[in-house]
Symmetry: C2
Subunit: 203 residues, 2 copies
């Protein structure tokens, strides 16, 4: 009964994603994943031999989402301005849909940096893309920042608000989730304007 196999497998993956994203590899419990999936603990081992393998499956899948997006943005942007806009829009829209991703990847990054870097290296996007976009701009219209600093700036501006959600919500907005949501809604546009203001010299 292949149909049923896929259903259970899907349920497990979904549950595992949920729990791993919330607790990280170390904090997650197989029992909790089983409960979340509404199945028995030993079934987890039947489908995936070990916790490690299950985690790897979830991680690879999750990470691929992000990488695919970046690759797409890198290859499709042809001016510095469109690059900034596409990159920020792409990134924030993924994170708004799946805010847990940020924590998940960062968490795994501190637990097992090697694995994350390996996954990135498997991809084939062009790290020099931004530098070449910058060099093809008129030197009088943009400030000469180091392209790598700028990439890190943009990543930081996009990712951090999701990682720091409890602080922003709890401290800046006194726990008001509505205000946090508005803040996030406005975030995309803010980052684009902020970065463009920093990079482009006004005439």
């Amino acid at each position: 009964m292949v149909k049923k196999i896929e259903n259970t497998e899907e349920k497990i993956i979904a549950a595992a994603r949920e729990v791993f994203l919330r607790k990280g590899m170390d904090g997650a419990r197989m029992q909790e994943i089983a409960d979340e999936a509404g199945i028995n603990k030993s079934l987890l081992h039947y489908y995936f031999r070990s916790k490690d393998k299950l985690f790897d499956r979830v991680f690879t899948e999750t990470f691929k989402n992000v990488i695919d997006l970046i690759t797409e943005v890198f290859s499709s942007s042809i001016t510095l301005e469109s690059f900034i806009e596409n990159f920020v829009r792409g990134y924030t829209s993924v994170l708004i849909k799946k805010p847990y991703i940020a924590n998940f990847v960062l968490h795994e990054l501190s637990r097992n940096p090697q694995r994350v870097v390996e996954h990135i290296n498997l991809t084939n996007f062009d790290k020099l893309k931004l530098a070449s976009l910058i060099s093809s701009e008129d030197k009088n219209t943009i400030r000469q920042f180091n392209p790598i600093q700028i990439i890190v700036d943009i990543l930081a501006l996009c990712i951090f608000p999701f990682v720091a959600k409890p602080i922003i919500k709890g401290f800046m907005f006194d726990g008001d989730i509505e205000e946090y949501n508005i803040f996030i809604d406005q975030r995309t546009q803010h980052i684009i304007e902020f970065v463009k203001s920093a990079v482009f010299i006004q005439k």
Copy 2:
């Protein structure tokens, strides 16, 4: 022999900080902390009743470092420009000295957001400070960004490069730690210029 007590306690705290910062609460092992401190595992329990209590001690202490710094910067800056400079310099200099702090706090933030927010709320720094600095500037010289967005921007720009160290080093610089260190050295100045370029309108 009070002197000795303090010494051992200090050794434990230092070892615990080291291990907790590296592995997080879930990943850390009491045995590893004992080894790092050069003492026996059961002594840990003698000084601190449980792993939880030991972690709490380390966390509170570590977090206090950061909070004290921010409080100090917030109260001592009297213009927008000096605020940006002090804030960025203060933050990055702490992180350069103790790069693990970023991971540690972010990790705990996803594991136990409540605890982190409580600690922040215990402090008494003025979240409206930046807004008041902005409003006291000449409206024609600065762009009217939302002050909370700007605070988050600055925090993001300062903290992220440390959290993402493996990615920046491994991917951007092909694993070359020297290049990463140069990148970090230049980071403080870059952030200050980047933020000022974004916020201040050139005449």
